[in-house]
Amino acid sequence: MRLLRNLGRRKVRTTLTILGITIGIWALVVFGSMANKINSLVAGGSQFYDGKVTVSAKGAGMGFGSPVALSAADRIARLDGVDVVVPGVSMLMSDGMSGVSMGMPQMIRGEVAGADRGRETFPMAYASGRALTPADEGANVTVLGSDIARQHDTRVGDTIMLRGEPFLVVGILEPTLTAPDTTAIVPLAAGQRLYVGTLPALVAAELDPATTVSGFTIYPQAGADPEAIADEIRAAAPDLEPMTGKDFDSQIGSATSILNSILVGIALISLAVGGLSVINTMAMSVAERTREIGIKRAIGGGRLRIVRELVTESALIGFLGGALGLALGAALVTVVNEAGRASGTVLFQLTAGTAFTAVAFSTLLGALAGLMPAVHAARLDPVTALRYE
């Protein structure tokens, strides 16, 4: 209460200072949430690609593009250290979507359910419905990622059009914050048919959908190094491009860490400005209260007490600015995410950690900014301070 009264002495100045911190924390929350989203996509990808080798045709990026003959699976299976080879097809859900949009592109993925023989460790939970089974082969059924289901407002039992064919939705996944959210999973045969349909007509005419895939997922034997298998594939099949978790981390991870530091850097600069304005406010407030500090020192207020009172006050400025910045940032993040959800573009991810860090950081910043003027105040000679006009 006394603290608030002290802040209320110069309402305009205190408000402006709090707003300065607010802007900084707002930027930190918004940019931090953006960085979180990117990080979780990357972390999800990193987890997704970890412990296995993903193979696609050379020149294609991330598992979709040029066709590969299903027979290559036999060649790969014979390599040292290979345990299971799962053929699959991946394609963009529609050609109109380029890779320009933020977040993951929407994909159709075709695989024989259970072909990984239990080796896939990436956790998938079902919000409703069921998983695909080998018995689904040949049928037009699908399991949808959470973003796709939300965007198309689809429930289990509904029918969804995928590349011009109707598919019955049998299951919907829980959000994973990474690739599966924007993926529609279909049985391999249906996937192969859709996939060949995406290829240029001249190429497609040469291919039998039943023997055409877009890549393989290779699970190594226990103790085998995915990197070594990738090297073997490079040597044995020059037309194929293997990718391991390590490749993913080095390609994507380094790019995102630069982006992250830019985003967080912008936020920190605005916070530094906010911090300086707290120093300014506290210095002025100490100067105005010189007499009062003199009284307190004279009647027995110790130096530490004076420092503590002033630092608490500036920490409160920091806290209020941080809380307000967090509230405004969270509001923006929520509004933009809700608006973007319809188009499947969720830009931000505001975590409890980011929220807590933002407020804790601004409080600490306020306290540190107040420390210098507070120490100056505590060192004032009480008699001189009492005579200060």
Binding site: R291, G300, G301, G302, R305
Partner: protein
């Protein structure tokens, strides 16, 4: 009046540095002794060193150690010269009370909070502080103004709050720098009567720095200062005729 010594200073000197070359010798060697339960006025023209003496006796400043004979200062039998700032602050908080000319209350705090601040600094738990503060405000006749801010109180009332703040910890020594300097004669008499009654009833020792002969007259003893030295220390009963005599001499 008891005859035990509460406060004793010897060879008290203080030189203030105003600029790079300008210094002011505010105290040029003062010996002073204050007895328990005394009410002493320190008088003198401005620049005579009376406030400096009060600041040293009130442990707000330390006497100079770097020139002249070594100063001595004892309070309640304890040596004060060698104490650090933290220990002096603690003694100010627990054993001394201060009243200043400009009332000097914290403007954002209510009357009772101002009084409680002194309890807080003396290390008293806040529940005890509250009842002590209520009692102290009652003694100065301001029980009903406890929740008013200084700006809502008259000058006389503010000074009485300051007195309550100085008295709340029941200190053995109260130092007052021109306590009636900004009050009209009626309020002056009221404040002075209050101080005198605490001195009589509770045996607390008072040191008052003042210009006002009426204030000095109400005290047991007057210490007169000029040019950083004590000119004479007389009983108040003798002060008045001597004062008149010296005025006559000047005229």
């Amino acid at each position: 009046m008891t005859s035990t010594t509460l406060l004793e200073g010897r060879n008290l000197r203080k030189t203030y540095r105003l600029g790079r070359r300008t210094t002011v010798e505010a105290l040029r060697g003062v010996d002073v002794r204050i007895q328990h339960g005394e009410m002493v006025a320190i008088m003198g023209p401005s620049g005579s060193g009376k406030s400096t003496l009060m600041h040293i006796l009130g442990l707000l400043h330390a006497p100079d150690l770097n020139h002249g004979p070594r100063p001595e200062l004892s309070f309640g039998g304890q040596d004060m010269v060698t104490l650090g700032e933290g220990e002096r602050t603690k003694i100010r908080a627990r054993q001394m009370g201060f009243v200043f000319q400009d009332f000097n209350l914290v403007p954002t705090l209510t009357a009772i909070e101002n009084v409680m601040l002194a309890c807080d600094y003396a290390g008293m738990p806040s529940s005890a502080a509250k009842s002590m503060a209520v009692e102290a405000l009652g003694l100065v006749g301001l029980a009903d103004r406890a929740d008013h801010r200084p700006a809502e109180l008259s000058g006389g009332e503010q000074q009485r709050v300051a007195i309550a703040r100085a008295l709340v910890n029941k200190p053995s020594l109260i130092l007052a720098d021109e306590p009636t300097g900004n009050l009209d004669s009626e309020r002056s008499a009221e404040v002075l009567g209050l101080l005198r009654s605490f001195n009589r009833e509770h045996g607390q020792t008072f040191i008052l720095v003042t210009h006002d002969p009426e204030v000095a007259e109400a005290c047991d003893r007057v210490v007169r200062m000029r040019d950083g030295r004590i000119r004479d220390q007389s009983l108040a009963a003798l002060a008045q005729p001597m004062d008149q005599a010296s005025r006559a001499a000047v005229a």
